[in-house]
């Protein structure tokens, strides 16, 4: 069981492959840019909410 756990643990660390798909690279960039755009539009509100929540905690 311990050996299995150890093998599982290193699974991601062990993988040396790199992404090869152009589509995935574009999709990731688009998602991140959309998120940045959304934050730019709503950033003030988000900051207010975060500050409010932090204050309550």
């Amino acid at each position: 069981m311990e050996n299995k756990g150890l093998k599982l643990y290193v699974r991601m660390l062990n993988e040396a492959k790199a992404i090869e798909s152009t589509e995935v690279a574009v999709i990731i960039a688009v998602v991140v840019l959309v998120a940045i755009g959304a934050y730019t539009l709503l950033g003030g509100k988000i900051s207010e909410v975060v500050t409010d929540v932090a204050g309550r905690i």
Binding site: A16, K17, I19, T22, I28, A29, V30
Partner: protein, 180 residues
């Protein structure tokens, strides 16, 4: 006034990224020795320099990526929530501290579902832990531009670490100039 440590770090990281990019270009993979050690150093650096929740989450996600689908998503959400709540207690809560948490979860799940390779995931998480979200954005946008060029050329193959390295080095140059 020259910030020597920042300059040395930028040079070292740039050299490391160039080596990773060359490996990716030649073999379509990056040896673990080149990604695991910097990843671990970045975790320690992040924990030491102020974003311990992100460092903890990066380590937790190594475990999460070994689980089955539903538990992986559930534990990812739980780990993220834990990291965010921890942020509220132990550090200033702002975008600089919270975004790396979301980026780490996003990259890990992307790798889990086959969207990216383990080498890319470790490099992107390492950069995020070291420099926060701006380096990640530079790297991802450079990757997207390279992807668009590849699509225009009808080339499906993209050594992703090359644009990631280029974007990050550009970020380091801009950052170093800004500091000076």
């Amino acid at each position: 006034m020259i910030d020597l440590p920042a300059l040395v770090l930028a040079v070292l990281i740039s050299a490391w990224l160039v080596v990773c990019a060359v490996c990716d270009w030649r073999k379509r993979e990056v040896p673990n020795a080149l990604t695991v050690v910097p990843f671990m150093l970045a975790v320690l650096w992040s924990a030491w320099s102020g974003n311990a929740p992100a460092a903890l989450l990066a380590v937790a996600m190594m475990f999460v990526t070994n689980l089955d689908n539903v538990p992986a998503i559930a534990v990812s959400l739980l780990s993220s929530a834990f990291a965010i709540i921890l942020s509220f207690f132990i550090q200033e809560v702002n975008v600089q501290n919270l975004l790396p948490i979301l980026i780490i979860v996003g990259i890990s799940l992307l790798w889990y579902f086959g969207g990216t390779g383990g080498a890319d995931a470790k490099i992107l998480i390492t950069l995020t832990l070291l420099f926060g979200y701006p380096a990640f954005i530079y790297a991802i946008v450079a990757g997207g531009l390279a992807g668009l060029v590849g699509l225009a050329k009808k080339d499906k193959q993209l050594p992703y670490v090359i644009p990631v390295a280029a974007g990050t080095i550009l970020y380091l140059v801009v950052r170093t100039i800004t500091i000076f």
